[in-house]
Symmetry: C2
Subunit: 132 residues, 2 copies
DNA sequence: GCTTGAACCTCAAGTGGCTTGAGGGCGTAG
DNA sequence: CTACGCCCTCAAGCCACTTGAGGTTCAAGC
């Protein structure tokens, strides 16, 4: 199949496929008249890549996962990738929740404290206020 | 003061200050012998920028906030920036929580279902599994 | 056989918010 | 006068693509 067909089948854009090839994530396919011709294994690989990216694995992590699939490594490897990733996600959530609390308290502080003053005096913008 | 002193006082790096100047976030200061000489107002501005960035406002949002401070706009403007930002933070948290649930269920699915199989067959990597 | 239009090709630059590095100039203390 | 630290500019790198320019190939209709 040609690149446009592959793109639709896998649900990614055509330039993205070429980008994945350029960084060595997809192996370069055969060419006919200069145009890329893909087989089913390319669709499988690309679908897996898309799955990993949808789970927010980085390109490098995705590369490692692809390698573990190609080498038929045990499932426990896959699980440890996912667990590590899960830890990163949870850490980011924790950071964002702390930030949320900080901004929320600044907003409510503004509502109660600086009623009707000007931006330079707003509690939201005071350097010390809401520091980590 | 010179750029290194300003950097330490405000808690940012020297290249960051030059970067902020290059994108028009900080106004270019006077020069002595080619070197930047800053006054106290630059420290105030840079501290405010740092505060906004620590609250994870984007550069563009920070630029708008700086403008509202310079124009002494009412505090309500500042609050609406913060509220909009808070909404964005909460949305990102919601997305990450959905992702967390997805990955967590894949991991536990791997533990219960695919005991000891290989990566290509692991439930974590099956395209349909855990889709949004 | 010729034309048209869609799909394909490569290469370069842009996104955000800096950081890092190369290669040099200025200022001051010994 | 030399050594050292601080300063300067400009360019490239990070991540994961997207967008655009300018040109080639393919399939279909006449």
């Amino acid at each position: 199949m040609r690149i446009g067909v592959l793109a639709k089948a896998a649900g990614v854009s055509v330039p993205t496929i070429r980008y994945y090839e350029s960084i060595g994530l997809l192996t370069p396919p055969a060419r006919l008249g200069g145009q890329r011709i893909y087989g089913v294994e390319a669709l499988n690989a690309l679908s897996l890549i898309r799955h990993c990216r949808a789970l927010d694995f980085s390109i490098d992590e995705t590369r490692d996962i692809l390698a573990s699939v190609e080498r038929r490594l045990p499932c426990s490897d896959t699980k440890s990738f996912a667990e590590k990733h899960l830890g990163a996600i949870r850490q980011k959530i924790a950071e964002l929740r702390a930030l949320e609390a900080r901004v929320a308290s600044l907003v409510s502080g503004c509502e109660t404290t600086c009623c009707g003053s000007t931006a330079p005096d707003c509690v939201i913008l005071q350097p010390g206020c809401g520091a980590a």
